[in-house]
Amino acid sequence: MNFKIVGIITLLMLVAGVKTFGQVSQNYDSTRYKKFLPDYVKMQFAGGIGFISMGVGYTFFNQKLEVSYFYGYVPESVSTDDLHSVSLQLTAKLLRYKINPNIELMPLNFGWFIHHTFGSEYWIKLPDHYPAEYYWWSPGRNSGVFLGGEIKTKLLSNKTPASGTAFYVRAGSRGLYIASKFGNATIPLNDIIEFGFGVAVYR
């Protein structure tokens, strides 16, 4: 099992997250150091990448594009076995409206994600006991797309070093589900949709 890797990644994320906010309050004035710190931390419920997922990431192109890295956990209480996974997400924020000085609305976010579940049964490369191309997909790594919306507020900006807090929702699907729905009118569309929501605290 790759729990060690999961542990290390999570620890790094936590350290990065804490440093993001800790360093501002301690008045470190090194811009070079600042550059490498994540721009936000996220906590997400569901969305196919974990029961609860914690993420960090960076914004690019005037906050139009986000790259996030999540660690997701599914506890035994909601599944037969607990599950550990990580995912990488690209989100393009296509529309942005400033409602008032404190609230920004981003009603059309489009994203792509790749999701990796840990465990030997969730292989990525076809194991040696299969002939070449025996199975065309990999259970350990699959990707999908999602649409979402977000409201960014000034919450937490008064008393903490954070610049604001955002709340977001997302609805997506992954390749394996889309392939299952393909050609099957009798599969309900909402069966292949993974809903989720979360909160992001920005630096």
Binding site: F45, A46, G47, G48, I49, G50, F51, G72, V74, V78, S79, T80, D81, L83, S85, T117, G119, E121, Y122, P127, H129, Y130, P131, Y135, W137, P139, N142, T153, L155, L156, R174, L176, Y177, A179, S180, F182, G183, N184, A185, T186, I187, N190, D191, E194, F195, G196, V199
Partner: protein, 270 residues
């Protein structure tokens, strides 16, 4: 809005979601959280079947290799429901193409609409990822059997490749034990997914499997899937017939009628 109020609202939303619309939110493609109607299917159907009125003739509808042919599976189910001769249905494996819990749920959602009891044997696709666990939660043990009107139906996991040809799949000892003669049955029907002639079957167990089937001279026939087409053949020098049944995508199913220790295979289009 204070932080405390926000947290309270979030907590309330969380409680609402957990109690009212659990199905809407997905935690992982590998999360297994089946409702009662999707659990213990094989055992519950054995009980259902044994409570059915029976005569000396058993007629079984076979399908299998349903993979992602969900619409075709629905057509199969309505065709069987229109056929009053069918006593029960056997699915010869590969109900979940990627082995995903969600595909198990989809596959079973159609079979749940059958008017008669049904049984599913494990296929190689069903074992990918945590599919073995999903199968056991939904259907039960990978090897199982029951006796109905003095015929023993033996379902055995023959997906050797999925177990890295570890020498334990198929479980020859278990099979031998199942076929040991008793006063409760006269003949046996052995059902599996991968036939012994296939490269996915453990070559080192092929002979032992054949010997086990022939040992007590009580196996009437074996039925399998995996190859999707239909054929009746005798792969070994002994006289046990093998019936390979149609995959659902052919929009045909095979029915097998058993009476007086003899059987008859029919192909029905739908």
């Amino acid at each position: 809005m204070s932080m405390r109020t926000t947290l309270k609202i979030l907590l309330l939303i969380g409680i609402f979601i957990n109690t009212s619309c659990e199905d809407l939110f997905d935690y992982s493609p590998y999360a297994i959280d089946f409702s009662d109607e999707n659990r213990d299917i094989n055992q519950r159907n054995i009980e259902r079947l044994l409570n059915c009125k029976n005569d000396d003739t058993i007629t079984i509808a076979f399908t299998g290799d349903t993979h992602r042919f969900f619409d075709e599976t629905e057509l199969f189910v309505s065709a069987v429901n229109k056929n009053p001769a069918i006593d029960f249905v056997i699915h010869v494996g590969d109900i979940a193409d990627f082995g995903l819990p969600k595909q198990y749920l989809w596959g079973n959602s159609y079979l749940l609409k059958l008017n008669v009891p049904y049984f599913v044997v494990i296929g190689n696709h069903d074992l990918v990822g945590n599919g073995s666990q999903a199968y056991q939660e939904m259907f039960g043990d990978l090897n199982y059997s029951f006796i109905y009107t003095s015929i023993k139906f033996v379902y055995i996991n023959t997906n050797s490749r999925e177990f890295k040809f570890n020498g334990n799949v198929p479980d020859i000892k278990w099979l031998d034990n199942q076929l040991q003669p008793s006063i409760d049955f006269t003949k046996a029907v052995v059902i599996f997914h991968v036939p012994p002639t296939d490269s996915d079957f453990d070559a080192s167990l092929k002979e032992a499997f054949q010997n086990s089937l022939a040992h007590y001279n009580n196996v009437l026939l074996t039925v399998h899937g995996h190859l999707h087409h239909h054929e009746i053949y005798k792969p070994f020098a002994d006289s046990i017939p093998f019936v390979n049944v149609f995959g659902v995508e052919h929009l045909k199913y095979n029915s097998i009628k058993i009476s007086n220790n003899q059987f008859e295979v029919e192909t029905i289009e739908f």
